[in-house]
Amino acid sequence: MTVLHWATISPFLLAILIPFLYKYARSIHTGWFVLILPLVLFVYFIRQLPITSNGGTVEHTVPWVPSLGIHFNVYLDGLSLLFALLITGIGTLVVLYSIYYLSKTKEKLNNFYVYLLMFMGAMLGVVLSDNLIVLYAFWELTSLASSLLISYWYHRKKSTYGAQKSMLITVFGGFAMLAGFALLYLITGTFSIREIIASVDVVAASNLFLPAMLLILLGAFTKSAQFPFHIWLPDAMEAPTPVSAYLHSATMVKAGIYLVARLTPVFGGAAEWFWLLSGFGIITLFWGSLSAVRQKDLKGILAFSTISQLGLIMCLLGLGSASLYFSDGTNTEMYTIAVLAAIFHLINHATFKGSLFMTAGIIDHETGTRDIRNLGGLMTIMPITFTISLIGLASMAGLPPFNGFLSKEMFFTGVLNATELGIFNMPTWGLLFPILAWVASIFTFAYCAILFFKTFTGPFKPEKYDVKVHEAPIGMLISPIVLGSLVVIFGFFPNLLAYTLINPAMEAILPTLLAEGEVFKIDIYHWHGFNLELFMTIGVIILGSLVFLTMKKWAQMSFYLRERDPINYLYDGALAGISTGGKRLTSTYMTGSIRHYLIYIYSFMVLFIGYMFFKLDGFAFGGEAAPITFFETLIGVVMVTAALVVMFAKTRLTAIVGLGAVGYSLATFFVFFRAPDLALTQMVIETVSAVLFLLCFYHLPVFKQKFESTSFKVGNFIVSLGVGILITLLAISSHNSKFFESLKDYFVQASYDEAGGKNMVNVILVDFRGFDTLFEILVLGIAALGIYSMIKLRLAKEDH
């Protein structure tokens, strides 16, 4: 266990201590204890920066299940370090924010911080693991922790609904992903991502390539809320705002992005990968920004905005993967800019979306509402919140001089480059990318404007709020201020990150493109000259403003009246359908009638054994048979007659007597076939059972006692006929196919020589096979005790 290992699992270790800290240090807000950990981790990861920025990596292995090739590998390169910094950095700010957001006295803080730490550890595990199975384990832990956090206020129905939904969708994806990992293991024989990337040729040549890719993408898409799996994210907004800010904007929803980026060296360069990523990404971007406009809830808008920005990043990763197609080195720079934009926007989005969620939380906390129809005029009352929101929203809308502008420009460059791709049918469909991206940006601008103007401008109406509205305490403002400043700093000095964070991350995503000692050319700057991207941005601002100004008209459209995403109806319908359908299906065959179950059992037996019989051609007839004597024929006729009597008897007494006749005929058969012990036993046992039957018959209830014959049912007839024929065939065939010598010669010989008995049957029973007899008498004893207790113990009756 190295320091990196301890860093990964330290949140779990601290989580164990939280309940004690909560119980024995009640006077201090538990969050203060928690705050130390992400801060220390953040500093630790910052100190790793020099290693990765020089292209180095750190790798440590601790065997976990070595026999299955599962090791707790930690691997630190540019990409995982970037995510680790996001997780710990924003984690620190979120914990700090939550200390002021959650009340010390009213909330169950121990639960909250245990879940939060669990999530943090799981997320660190996801980004630092090199082993796919370990990654998957941490991945599911993030789903679990996320659900726990969403349902933190578990007495609210909406919270539990949201938690269930996110759990179902992400775990669905998680399972698919596990299957994908298993396929990758089948192809390469290793769970190590590093080794899989090294054997990328084998993967590409395999016919499991496509299934593995689709399954893994399913996991990534569900986690990262891509269309149409995005529906859980808006419902996850029932979580406390620090959770929304941390999980559902900056970290967990980027786990899918991380996975896609991490596996780009494996799958990138394939047309399917390119199309799926960029296609679903652009649709998500478009749908998210379109849906965000119609939301009335601050966090609802932010949720859909997150969805759309995640789509943007996903799309850029897809476009960037085209560069792997040209691995010979021509034109690569044209496509690597998409990856650059993806990483840059990933960082930017984490900063501005985190701060926006926090300011939304502040507004909620201080005014008691998040509904934009009630809010307004907060500009002068909450000046700091207003400033931070303005910065965040401007950045999100893509306005200069903030960092969102830079990533948006690069995004436009990326999609415009995509149209010039000469591969993957791009010339025909490529034009859709810039158009969709552009329209989505217009709506992005519009909802940013809505967020800003509806919340902060207009007249302030104190009577609308239940509480006296004032600026938040400084502690709550620190985190958004830090994030807001980062937005500005990254906006003005974008190249600050270029060779420390972005380049190492790009090297991790596109490892094959660089020669030794080379670096990607990263130069982010505001002024590109009068190019198409700039005009597109100007168009976005103008049209976006128009959309916002004509919002009243748009708002009347039915699409905008309904707040909920229509895909929710699909989900709800499917969920209800599965449960009612399952119930209906179960109630069709689980009737509770033993008759039906017997029919299932016998039909299965007949069909299955019969099928195998035909399939393996198990029939064997015409072997040697002993001659049939007159007496055997006679007893046989008696027996069959008695059996028919049992079946067609009108009264039960006849049936019982008929059964007795069958039993005595059997005893006679035993006599003729020279089995005296069997004959004796059969005779006595038949007598006893006939007596017991008569006893039951005598005690049948008098009411409803009708003397009617067995009713004829075709189904029963067919099934019983099938069973009879099958067993007859089986008996004949098995008689005629003897593959081994019988043991009887041995018993004949040994029963006198070795066991000293002349009665072979009895010697076998008590000597050669005495073990069976021992347990048969045990069975008898249990039966006797069972009957005794059934008769004597009548607790149920005594109760009444």
Binding site: G757, N759, N762, V766, F771, L774, G781, I791
Partner: protein, 141 residues
């Protein structure tokens, strides 16, 4: 409503011993001839059932003042101990042996440990049968 069934009772008093003796014969003969613990046990039980039919269950209980469940348990115990006993001689579970002995009155006789096991079977069968029939019979009252 039991009428005067003196013939049945008298016959029973006689026959029951014949049945029991026959059942013991069948039981002992099992090693060489048809019979054995199972059928012998059933027949002994049948003798007691006959006693119960001719008189009543209380009479049977007075005649043999033993709990039949205990007989079952005893039989199982004997059967298991026969198996465990083989361990004393370093043999496997349920290993049987036999030898010939000169016994007074009987002359040279074969004695087999399998007989001990059969005694267990015999007792279990008696116990089980009587437990079942008499618990049901008592319930009728």
């Amino acid at each position: 409503m039991r009428t005067n069934d003196v013939i049945l009772k008298t016959a029973t008093q006689l026959i029951i011993f014949i049945i029991i003796i026959f059942s013991i014969y069948v039981f002992l003969a099992g090693h060489h001839n048809p019979g054995g613990g199972f059928i012998g046990g059933l027949m002994t039980a049948a003798a007691f059932v006959l006693l119960g039919l001719a008189f009543d269950i209380d009479t049977v209980k007075k005649t043999i003042p033993i709990d039949f469940k205990m007989i079952t348990a005893l039989g199982l115990l004997i059967a298991v101990l026969t198996g465990v006993g083989a361990f004393v001689f370093g043999a496997n579970f349920l290993t049987h042996t036999f030898d010939y002995f000169m016994l007074p009155l009987l002359g040279e006789t074969e004695l087999a440990t399998a007989l001990l096991f059969d005694i267990g079977v015999y007792l279990v069968v008696i116990g089980v049968t009587l437990t079942i029939i008499f618990s049901i019979g008592e319930d009728q009252k």
